[in-house]
């Protein structure tokens, strides 16, 4: 009995040492990859002061990315009307992937089908690797993920990484916006429009207290309302 107890303790110690060694190795690897920071990191600004709620972005996204009816990668949420007739106004806000730096969907995905593209910082989905456990859908604090009824894989905005961006064009929503309410660009490039706009405007990001560090910025509508 004494002997077997000792053997068991030895075994457990070896297991723990192995596990901690492996995790140590993992952190070393992680810190190694930090050095090779990519020089492209895409972000999007939604200027709510310019948005008129025409939903051209939703339509363009659906066409370009072949998104089936019934689901959507991007949605314009509408609040209002505020104010007195005939001077009423609405608020429009964009609901779509925030391309978090520390993305919960990527953290929880069991197969690595949800990933952050190292070249661009875009949070993407490998539809083939996805098994459809829907863990990412539950994990996303912004509720922007859905199961694509055609591919049966998790789907969401990827800044048109596989469509427009691959062809050297702006994302479909940005290109179509009639009032130029969407600004897309590289955060690492100080001369890019997106950096200029961020520097000259106060912006907000959703649910930053969760530590997700999202890359969808909003310029908040100028007129407000009273809510408690």
């Amino acid at each position: 009995m004494e002997n077997s107890k000792r053997r068991f303790l030895k075994g457990t110690c070896a297991l723990l040492a192995g596990a901690s060694g492996a995790s140590l190795l993992a952190t070393v690897n992680a810190s190694g990859s930090v050095k090779a920071e990519p020089d492209v990191k895409y972000a999007l600004i939604h200027d709510e002061t310019k948005c008129i709620g025409c939903r051209a972005c939703e339509v363009a996204c659906r066409e370009v990315n072949n998104v089936p009816e019934g689901v959507t990668r991007l949605e314009i949420k509408q609040a209002g009307p505020f104010g007195e007739y005939p001077n009423q106004f609405y608020h429009f806000s964009r609901k779509s992937c925030q391309h978090c730096e520390d993305a919960p969907c990527v953290n929880v995905c069991p197969t690595g089908a949800a990933f952050i593209d190292k070249q661009t910082g875009i949070v993407s989905v490998d539809a083939w690797k996805c098994v459809g456990c829907q863990y990412c859908i539950a994990a996303c604090p912004y509720q922007v993920r859905f199961i694509n009824p055609v591919t049966r894989a998790a789907d969401k905005c990827d800044f048109c990484r596989e469509t427009n961006l691959a062809q050297g064009k702006q994302p479909a929503c940005v290109a179509i916006c009639p009032t130029k309410a969407l600004v897309f660009g590289n955060l690492k490039d100080p001369t890019s429009e997106v950096v200029q706009v961020l520097r000259s405007n106060p912006t907000q990001r959703a649910k930053v207290d969760l530590g997700t560090r999202p890359k969808l910025f909003r310029i908040v509508a100028k007129s407000g309302e009273v809510t408690l």
Partner: protein, 313 residues
């Protein structure tokens, strides 16, 4: 907002059943080990309760995995979970734990039932005797690792939900402990129920032992549930709203107060307390306590899963 269908609901009841079954399996194995180690020693295989636990544990974990696979949108791609791993994913690590747990579970069952297995295989498959002899050499390590992995599995069912940052009620450090404790008690209950069904004596020393462990376990569960909701309320903000949405009113409020606190926790506790340690236990009493305990745990899994998804950060 309907209690069973709402916009922010992603995971439905099959996940709750899976969490329940994984907990039952882990708990049954845990108590089988305890029974063998502290009560029955080498005659464990003759006990109806150990037999029941050793049937319940594999069946429950396999059934749970089956439900999990069927709940995928691409059930035939489930092998990808076994091939691709993500060290940051609780689910991925849980799959790993489940696989290793099952290995040790079958090894331990093999060791525990070595005598009948050897007797049956002696003439038919003599090779099996060599295997069981080999297994028996690692009995201590197998037992130890099985305990560790059954506890890990029990806790994993909670970590799976507490890794969801968008739901303030689930993103709660007490949840894994709560699920571990309730998983263990559901395992004990399933061993008791199965044991008396397999003609185990309702007044046997196994029952007395399990009941002795069960009272503190239920008390711990009550403390954990209290801490769980107290923590949410004191955190404030959406966490507080989530807590009151869950237990304050409506369908799930009833489930919590009547089903979980009343039936699942107070019921077995009261019956255990009224039945003093020395008095004689009857079949209906053991089975009845086990049943309400199991129902309580199943309700708790569903309650946490559904109400947890009702309020978002």
């Amino acid at each position: 907002m309907s209690a069973l269908h709402f916009d922010t609901l992603v995971w439905h009841w099959p996940i709750a059943i899976y969490l329940f079954l994984a907990g039952v399996s882990a708990g049954a194995m845990f108590f089988a080990v305890l029974l063998k180690h502290f009560v029955l020693k080498h005659n464990a295989y003759q006990s109806g309760f150990v037999q029941a636990a050793c049937i319940v544990a594999p069946v429950a974990v396999m059934a749970g995995l089956g439900i999990l696979v069927l709940d995928l949108t691409k059930p035939f791609d489930f092998w990808k979970i076994l091939v691709f791993y993500n060290p940051t994913s609780v689910m991925s690590m849980g799959v790993l734990i489940l696989l290793i747990y099952q290995v040790f579970m079958f090894m331990w069952i093999g060791i525990t039932f070595r005598k009948p297995v050897d007797a049956w295989c002696e003439k038919r498959f003599p090779i099996v005797l060599k295997l069981t002899a080999l297994l028996a050499r690692f009995e201590a390590s197998t037992t130890g690792l099985l305990v560790i992995f059954s506890l890990a599995l029990g806790a994993y069912t909670g970590f799976l939900l507490s890794a969801l940052p968008g739901y303030p009620m689930l993103k709660n450090p007490v949840l894994p402990l709560l699920f571990l404790a309730s998983g263990l008690s559901s395992g004990a209950a399933s061993a008791l129920l199965g044991g008396v069904l397999l003609k185990g004596s309702p007044n046997g020393k196994e029952v007395h032992f399990i009941h002795k462990v069960e009272i503190p376990l239920i008390l711990v569960e009550i403390v954990l549930i209290f801490t769980f909701f107290m923590g949410l309320v004191l955190t404030g903000g959406q966490s507080k709203i989530a807590a009151f949405n869950a237990i304050g009113y409506g369908f799930w409020g009833w489930v919590f107060w009547i089903g979980i606190v009343g039936l699942g926790l107070s019921g077995p506790l009261a019956m255990n307390l009224f039945m003093t340690a020395t008095s004689k236990r009857k079949w209906a009493y053991v089975a009845g306590t086990a049943c309400i305990s199991l129902i309580g745990v199943l309700l708790l899994r569903n309650f946490i899963l559904y109400t947890g998804q009702m309020t978002i950060a």
